[in-house]
Amino acid sequence: MSLQIKPILVALRRHKAGTLLIALQIALTLAIVCNALFIIHQRLANLSQRSGVDEADVFVITNQWAVDKSTQQIDAQVQADMAALRQLPSVRDAAPASGYPLAGVGSDNFVTLTPDQVKPTTDSAVYVGDEHLLDTLGLRLIAGRNFRSDEVLMTSTQQAVFPPVVIVSKTLADRLFPGGSALGKSFYAMSATPTTIIGIVDSLHRQGTSQWNKPYAGQSLIWPGRPDDSRGIYYIVRARPGQLASAMRAAPKALFAQDRMRIIDPKDGLLDYAQIRHRAYDSDRGMAILMGIISAVLLAITAAGIVGLTSFWVGQRRKQIGVRRALGATRNNILHYFLTENLLIGLAGVIVGAVLAIGINLWMVTRFEMDRMSLLYVGVGILALLLLGQGAVFAPALRASRVSPVEATRSV
C-alpha cells in the first residue's frame, strides 16, 4: 500500500475541492461525535449511580393534605399515618421525610467548620427524617448510632437553627474531617450553634441528579425531625422482601382509612424506586438518545459522502483505472489505491477533527462547567472514523478494481 502514497498525494492535490470537503466533513464529525460520546457516557454513568437506598423494596408516597391543617395537626396525623403503615404485614418500616435520593428536588446547605467562617467548607444535601429513616431507606450505619426518639422533634427544614445532632454520609464525614475522625466532631450549617455528628452511614446521595458525577454528590446529612410541611410530606415505605407490590397496594388504603382528607396523586403520588429512577434520569436518557441519534446521523452522512465522492471519482477515472490496469496494476493494486486515498483523506480529517474535538470540549468546560474529556474518546473516535471511511469506500473501490484493462483502449 505504501508504494502508492506519493502519487496519490500528488493526484489529491489536483482534486482539492472534493478532498477538502470530505476531510472537513470527517473533522467535524469526529469533533461532534467525540463530544457526543463523552456526554452519552457521562449520562449513562449517571443512570447507574448508586443512591444508597435499598431500591428493590422501597417506595415513596407523596402525601398532600386536602384541607388546611395546623403544624400540630399535621404532626399528629403523620405519627398516626406512620403507625398505620408500620402495622401492615407487608411493610418492614416507614418514615416521613423531607426528600429522598433521586427525588430531583430537595434542600441543601453550606457547611462550615467554625461559626464565623465566611467561605463555606463545602455543601451538603439535607434530609429531615425520624429514627426510622435509616432502616426504611436501607442505609447502613458504619459508625456511631441512630437517632433516639427523644431527639426527633416536629421541625422544618426552613428553620434557621440546625439541630444539635445529625447523621452524615461517609463522603461528607471524610470531606469535613479527613482520616475517619468525624464521629463526635461538630460543624456548623450556616447556624451559630454547632451540630455534632452522632452517626455515619456508608452511602447517601443527594436528591438531585444533575451533579451526581461530581465528588460532592455523596455529601448528605440527616437532620432528626418529623417534617411538618403543610403542602405535603413524603412517606418513605420499605416493604418486606418480595412484598413490594402488595405493600404498594395496601399502603394508600391504610392511609385513606386513617383520614380521607388527603391527596395521593394517581399519576406520581405512589412510586417505587424503579419508577423514581426512571423519572430522575429522564433528561439524561433523553440527552443520551439525542446525542446517539446525532452521532449516528452524522456518521451516516459522512459515510454517504465518502461513498458518493468515491463513486464519482471511480466513474470519472474509469479510463485512468483501465490505463493503470493495462500498465500492470492488479485488481488489488486498484483496490488499495482507493483505500489508501481514503485513508490519507481520513487521516487529514481526523487530525483536524481531534484538535476541534478537544477545543469544543475545553470551550464546554469553561462555558458549561463540563468535565474534561478523556483523550480516549478522541482515540476511539479517530479509529471509528477511519474504519467507517474504509468501510464506506470499500464498495466503490471494489467496483473500481473490476474495471477491465480494455477500458484503456476505449475512446471515451
Binding site: 502508492q4 502519487p7 493503470r324 490496469r325 492488479t330 493494486n333 484493462p405
Partner: protein, 240 residues
C-alpha cells in the same frame, strides 16, 4: 515472440454471436516491426487488446514470449502486461493528475522496483524521447506529439519484450506524426519488437512487414487490394 494460432474472439448476446476474430493466425518474430492494417471494424483493435492481454479470447492458442497465456489468471496477466509489454495508445492515455515523471513511474511502481532504479530508468527513457527537461511538467502542459513521446517513454521504461502501438500517430498532425514514427523506427533499430495497428498506409509502409486483417482474419495482400477504401466492413455474424 507473439504467436496466435487458430485464435478466435466471439462476442455473444442472447440472440447473436459475433466473431471479431476467426481462425486468426499470426507469428511475429523477435525484433520485427509489424504493421497491422485493415478497414474499420476488421478486428485490428481486438487483435491488439488480445495481444496485450487486455482481453481474453474465445478459442485457439496464443503464445507470448514462449508462454501460453490462455489459462493465466488475472494477476499473472497483469504481471506479464507490466513486465513484457509496453503500450502506446492513440489517445496517449497519460494520467492528467500526474507529472511526466510520475506517469512514467506508474508501471515501474507496480513492478515493485526500488526508487533509485525507477528514477534512473525514467530519466533514461525521457532522454531517449528527448524530453528530459519536461519531467516535472503535467500532460496538459505538453503538445500532442510531446505527450505521445512521454507515453513511449513510459512504455520503454520497463524494458518490455514487445511494444504494442494502437494508431500511435492517429491524434497527431503530420509533422508530429513524422517525429513519433521516426522515434519508433529508432527504437526498432535498437532491437525492439514492435506491433503497430494503423490504418495509415504511409505509416504501414515504413514497417518491416505488413499484416492485413479483414473480417477478423489475416488475409494475403497479394489476393486482396492493398488498401481497402470501404468503411465499416463489419465482422462476420452468425445466428445462434
Amino acid at each position: 515472440m507473439l504467436k496466435m494460432t487458430h485464435l478466435s474472439k466471439v462476442y455473444r448476446t442472447e440472440v447473436v454471436e459475433t466473431y471479431a476474430l476467426r481462425d486468426f493466425n499470426i507469428d511475429v518474430k523477435e525484433g520485427e516491426f509489424v504493421a497491422v492494417t485493415g478497414p474499420s471494424g476488421s478486428g485490428k483493435t481486438t487483435f491488439l487488446t488480445i495481444a496485450g492481454l487486455l482481453e481474453t479470447f474465445s478459442g485457439g492458442e496464443y503464445h507470448l514470449d514462449g508462454i501460453e497465456v490462455s489459462n493465466l489468471n488475472d494477476n499473472a496477466r497483469s504481471k506479464i502486461r507490466n513486465e513484457k509489454i509496453g503500450f502506446i495508445f492513440q489517445a496517449f492515455n497519460l494520467i492528467p493528475d500526474l507529472s511526466v515523471f510520475d506517469n512514467i513511474e506508474v508501471p515501474l511502481r507496480y513492478r515493485g522496483m526500488k526508487s533509485a532504479e525507477r528514477k534512473q530508468r525514467i530519466m533514461d527513457s525521457l532522454e531517449r524521447v528527448g524530453l528530459a527537461s519536461r519531467a516535472k511538467h503535467y500532460p496538459a502542459e505538453l503538445s500532442g506529439g510531446q505527450q505521445q513521446r512521454v507515453a513511449i517513454a513510459r512504455a520503454l521504461a520497463g524494458s518490455p519484450r514487445l511494444l504494442l502501438a494502437d494508431e500511435p500517430t492517429g491524434n497527431l498532425d503530420t509533422q508530429m506524426a513524422r517525429g513519433v514514427m521516426e522515434l519508433l523506427e529508432e527504437i526498432h533499430r535498437d532491437g525492439a519488437t514492435i506491433v503497430m495497428v494503423t490504418h495509415d498506409p504511409e505509416l504501414a509502409a515504413r514497417a518491416q512487414r505488413n499484416v492485413h486483417i479483414i473480417d477478423g482474419q489475416v488475409v494475403d495482400l497479394a489476393e486482396e487490394p492493398r488498401f481497402h477504401t470501404h468503411a465499416g466492413a463489419g465482422a462476420s455474424q452468425g445466428q445462434l
